[in-house]
Symmetry: C2
Subunit: 260 residues, 2 copies
DNA sequence: AAGGGAGTTCCAAATTCCGGAACCTTGTCC
DNA sequence: GGACAAGGTTCCGGAATTTGGAACTCCCTT
């Protein structure tokens, strides 16, 4: 196991649930001996990938990750184009918009567009969530081959929220539905009382894929309002797919008119 | 030279001036042989620290840096406290606020508070600038020992903007002035037509230091307005130093009344 | 003063890394 | 089409780093 692999293993221990870790935490999480952990943490700290709180001696991601993370945003094109469109939709509907990417069987939030409606933003950028538990996450998965999906979902199916698919078969059924209807919807899953609708966008040029969703309070919205969101998203999807050369371009147009 | 060191060396090649790099760029910048570069880039890409554009094949910071960079924000306390105060000052004065940390002889922008005045934000978070060329950068350096400063400034004095100190002696004179007056000011340095005033804040508890500055258009502000900024900053510095237990607490109060 | 938790340093064995050179791929020019 | 060049990957033996157990230090508690 290379030195880099070990370093990465440590970096992966950090998450929004655990934004900082003690020496012992890292040892427990990685299962490495004390000496190795000590050496590695020191290296990571010295090179700026980690910082150490001088008072509590706990470790957290360092200045270098902050700098590089900002640069990652420069990776624009697809994302910023989608963000522009999403902003308009959110301004019109008042709801909150999300843009995320797939990483393994999880998704990572890249951008948020806060709506005018008073729904707290609960998933800040950088947040990781099982893709099967969100509307845009499922929309992204639905565009992969069945083998690819199977390879991504862990061998032991993860414990997902109540209204999310509870086993692999349910998951595949749900993805198939998205493939047929072109619509992905979620309600009361990751967060109680919050619903969302989303779709996946794939660049015809680079092949990269992002998931775009609009989320709202389930109680505070009527069925008519949700239908409106669906129309807005369908229009946005059609426009973005045309602009980005998404291979789903024609196919989608057909489905969208069908669902109207 | 360890594998990690090499990896970090590559990561340091990225900057806002060069947000993405080709294989050849990395080779040129690190001076490493092709084979080593190839292996290393592949490792970094595989572990998520870098991404590769499928079309141009260029590399850019990866999803992992984005995630970790978000987590770095959690490192709050001192910064968020300063940010709150800075927001109020910026709201009152209409100018743009910056919070930065020192890293070697450079500073890295951590937070920005856009003002209401139409002065474009030119230094986004993550931006690196020679600390000697900014008001808050110099304020931070002024709080270090002379030996520490000498150790940070490169052996060959860097080429700085016109109005910044042009050699080590000028730099030390400027820092001494800050130490005496407690005031750090810049005009027409990193950016033509932009001036700023700043100070350094040091936590009495953790010893960590940040630089806080307010920047404005030189032409569009009167001397009276700049004096007003100075008063606002002095009041803010005094308050924050009291709150954070900055060792400069009493000393500063004396200086501030003196400059009034 | 003893005990223990937390973390660092040491060391020889083992693994990984290094870089030159050969090799492969892709696009381009004649 | 064929040859060339740029860009990039793979191979391999010698060299250097990494590894993890154990001994050690530091600091706090009992």
């Amino acid at each position: 196991m290379s030195a880099l692999t070990n370093a990465i293993e440590i970096l992966h221990c950090f998450s929004s649930a655990r934004p900082d870790l003690s020496f012992a935490d890292v040892m427990a999480l990685t299962g490495k001996p004390k000496s190795s952990t000590s050496r590695l943490l020191r290296s990571l700290r010295d090179c700026g990938l980690l910082e150490q709180d001088p008072h509590t001696r706990r470790y957290r991601p360092g200045l270098l990750t902050f700098e590089l993370g900002r640069l990652h945003r420069a990776h624009d094109d697809l994302i910023s184009m989608a963000e522009r469109e999403l902003r308009e939709v959110c301004a019109r509907t008042g709801h909150t918009g999300y843009i995320a990417v797939l990483d393994g069987y999880e998704q990572v939030v890249l951008r948020i567009v806060p709506g005018s409606n008073p729904l707290r933003v609960v998933n800040p950028p950088g947040q990781r969530t099982p893709a099967l538990a969100t509307s845009n996450g499922r929309a992204m998965l639905a565009r992969l081959s069945d083998e690819d999906i199977r390879a991504r979902v862990p061998a032991t199916y993860p414990k997902l929220p109540r209204n999310s698919p509870q086993n692999f078969k349910q998951a595949m059924a749900r993805l198939d539905e998205i493939r047929r209807t072109g619509v992905s919807e979620a309600a009361d899953e990751s967060i109680e009382g919050v619903g969302s609708q989303g779709f996946a966008l794939k660049s015809g040029e680079t092949g990269e894929m992002i998931g775009i969703a609009v989320s709202y309070s389930v109680q505070a919205t009527t069925a008519a309002e949700r239908a409106n969101v669906r129309r807005e998203l369908a229009a946005m999807a059609a426009k973005l797919r045309r602009l980005t050369g998404d291979p789903l371009d024609q196919a989608t147009t057909r489905v969208q008119t069908g669902t109207r």
